[in-house]
């Protein structure tokens, strides 16, 4: 494994126990048990329709916005029960940020895109503080050098890769603890993808990252742990190295060697 160490003994940041997700009558996930270790990258892999994105979206309750979606079981962020009635979804999502498949900058300036989260959560007391947050987030996302001198321009005018990094900067600006990424590179070219992958590797030092990906190479390159989903079931989870070199389940073996999926 490229990253060189295993995270199996790291503290658990998020955990799922016996999670079932339904869309109307259809069950999309069955009895998922998964621990997400802190300050590391967990990759969710599996063929299309296996439920990995559904699982990702249930971690910050983005599934709430989907009509007819029901989640059973327990998901915890540290000690907080995510699906408890007392939980404020808005605060939860500030702690568990999200980056989407297709870059979705708001039709506002670059500055306003990044300042959006801090503004709605009241994270900055003054314009100077807000400026500082924007600059720090753009630097963390590796975008400052490219756009630092044109913050007033529209975010939608950037290239696809830059837009996606802008979306990452936007997520970082609210200082989340966990960042969920739903196939963040699937709409990008290889060079932009390499950029984002490097970025993910750097962000791991401060943030807990869960990434859904269709690319096995990407999972192998950026993640420390990998979970393989198939037909709504979590088939196997373990150190990325183990999963890719010595999977214990036949289906995992079949998928990573390209026999199906």
């Amino acid at each position: 494994m490229q990253n060189g160490y295993s995270t199996s003994n790291a503290p658990v940041k998020m955990s799922a126990r016996k999670v079932d997700v339904f869309y109307g009558d259809k069950q999309a996930l069955k009895g998922i048990d998964l621990d997400v270790p802190a300050r590391s990258v967990t990759a969710l892999i599996g063929p299309s329709g296996c439920g990995k994105s559904t699982f990702l979206r249930s971690l910050n309750r983005m599934n709430d916005t989907v009509r007819g979606c029901r989640v059973q079981g327990e998901i915890k962020l540290d000690t907080l029960d995510v699906y408890d009635n007392s939980v404020d979804v808005v605060q939860l999502r500030a702690r568990v940020g999200m980056v989407f498949q297709k870059p979705n900058p708001f039709p506002k300036s670059i500055y306003e895109n990044v300042a959006y989260g801090p503004r709605i959560h009241g994270l900055a007391e003054s314009r100077e503080e807000l400026d500082a947050i924007v600059e720090k987030s753009l630097k963390q996302a590796g975008l400052w050098k490219e756009v630092g001198d044109r913050l007033a321009e529209g975010g939608t005018g950037l290239s696809g890769g830059q837009q996606q990094r802008l979306c990452i900067a936007r997520a970082l600006a609210v200082s989340p603890e966990v960042i969920l990424m739903d196939e963040p590179c699937s709409a990008l070219d290889p060079i932009a993808t390499a950029h984002i992958e490097e970025l993910i590797d750097e962000l791991r030092e401060e943030y807990t990252i869960v990434i859904v990906t269709h690319s096995m190479q990407q999972a192998a390159r950026v993640s420390q742990r990998t979970a393989f989903f198939h037909l709504g079931i979590l088939v196997e989870t373990g150190d990325t190295k183990t999963i890719f070199t010595n999977p214990s389940d036949e289906r995992t073996q079949g998928y990573i060697t390209g026999r199906f999926g």
Binding site: G97, F100, C167
Partner: protein, 460 residues
């Protein structure tokens, strides 16, 4: 033999051409469809085009032109003493002749002087009809033979038929355009006649509107003043009141329907709101004149204000209600067109629904919303019936919504109602007002459509 019978015969024969074309194509290919370039029906249609198009086209042109040609012929053959008549007397004479010829006046009751002329007219008409029968049928049969002769298994009938179909579509789509051009031209020419009599600057910037013209020289008090500013001011005042009602209500209902309303409620409320747009404006007019105007007047007097029985406020309020659907329906569409990914992005950052709407969705949808407001405004400018019934005819310049005002459209209607000479400035003024209204609403619509277009490109 009548022309309508000929029309039916042409259609039936064309249908026969269809069957013949199909048969011949199948026969040429030895009865196997696979031996043909196109399906047999295309060969049938190909023959129909050959026999139907030229003969029907001729039929149409003939019927359209026949009457004027016959008239010219009859007129040229008139006895010399009639030819020397004045132009208007001549045209009266000709219409009498036609009345006799078409049997509206029985021949034995007709002026004996007119009888030979009417008979000449009838003869010419009969000759023309007979000639049409012959020419149309010959054209049809020649077309049919020519079409049938071209059919062979390799012949690309499908491509030819589709080409003709394309021309048909082009004709249909240009029809509306040409009609519009015709309307504009008629407006422009009549307005030009008006401006030949009244100075355009006086019309556009004059402050008095009193279009009564003296019919007799000794008539009192009808000087004719054509300063349209009071009408423009009244139109803008009423439209502004309408927008004050329609924009907030329409926009808020659009936001509710697009973002908050559950699916089943939305499926019910949206059509219900759109019904508002389908109510005849006359009905809104009743409502304005009989319910809202008295209410406004009573409410005003309760507050110690003097309100005219026909007030701009009453007309504006009802007009505002009428154009709510224009604002809400289009705004609802543009709000729905904002990509879900933007909502997800905002929710993913921990924004609430109302923050997402205010800070992401409405700004993103703003161009489309602006366009819907502009379209509603141009609709308000052109509205007539509500204002006729609720705001009255008094052309005042005032910004007081409680006073009676009048609008451009109301005066267009008023100018054309009743006995008028068609060349008096009073009547022609209606066309000038119409032209101004047309130019303004056209400009507004073009602006709105451009905004919508730009907005679409943004998300494609």
């Amino acid at each position: 033999m009548s022309t309508s019978l000929l029309f039916a015969v042409l259609l039936i024969l064309s249908l026969g051409g269809y069957l013949l074309g199909r048969r011949r194509a199948l026969g040429a290919a030895g009865g196997k469809i696979t031996g043909l370039h196109s399906l047999p029906t295309f060969y049938g249609w190909y023959v129909v085009i050959w026999c139907g198009l030229p003969s029907l086209l001729l039929f149409g042109l003939w019927v359209a032109a026949e009457d004027s040609i016959v008239r010219v012929l009859v007129q040229n053959a008139l006895p010399p003493e009639m030819l020397s008549l004045r132009a208007d007397q001549l045209s009266l004479l000709m219409s009498n002749v036609r009345n006799v010829a078409y049997g509206l006046v029985p021949m034995d009751h007709a002026d004996p002087q007119l009888r030979p002329i009417a008979e000449h007219y009838i003869t010419l008409h009969q000759i023309s009809t007979a000639a049409l029968w012959v020419v149309a049928l010959v054209l049809l049969i020649a077309g049919m033979l020519s079409g049938l002769r071209r059919i062979s298994p390799e012949f690309r009938a499908r491509n030819r038929v589709e080409q003709v179909a394309q021309w048909l579509l082009i004709t249909a789509s240009t029809l509306a355009v040409f009609t519009t051009i015709g309307i504009v031209l008629s407006l422009v020419f009549e307005a030009a006649r008006f401006f030949a009599k009244i100075n355009a600057l006086e019309f556009l910037f004059g402050l008095t509107w009193s279009p009564q013209m003296a019919i007799r020289v000794d008539q009192v008090g009808s000087s004719g003043a054509f300063g349209a500013v009071p009408l423009f001011a009244g139109t803008l005042l009423i439209a502004a009141i309408a927008m004050i009602v329609a924009v907030p209500v329409g926009l808020m209902s659009a936001v509710y329907m697009a973002e908050y309303a559950p699916q089943n409620l939305r499926a019910w409320v949206k059509p219900a709101l759109e019904v508002l747009a389908g109510i005849p404006t006359v009905v809104y007019g009743f409502f304005a004149a009989l319910t809202v105007a008295p209410f406004v007047q009573q409410a005003g007097s309760a507050l110690g204000l003097e309100v005219a029985s026909q007030s701009a406020l009453a007309a504006g309020l009802v007009m505002g209600i009428m154009i709510i659907p224009f604002v809400s329906s289009l705004s609802d569409d543009v709000i729905n067109a904002v990509p879900q990914s933007l909502r997800d992005g905002s929710y993913g950052l921990g924004a609430t629904q109302s923050e997402t709407i205010r800070k992401v969705i409405l700004p993103a949808a703003l161009p489309g919303i602006a366009a819907s407001v502009i379209l509603a405004f141009s609709r308000a400018l052109g509205e007539t019936m509500i204002v006729v019934m609720a705001a009255g005819l008094a052309a005042n310049i005032t910004a007081n919504p409680l006073a009676a005002v009048s609008t451009v459209t109301v005066h267009i209607a008023a100018l054309l109602v009743g006995d008028q000479e068609f060349d008096s400035p009073k009547t022609l003024a209606a066309f000038a007002l119409g032209l101004v209204l047309f130019i303004v609403t056209l400009a507004l619509n073009i602006i709105a459509l451009n905004i919508v277009k730009k907005y679409r490109e943004q998300y494609d």
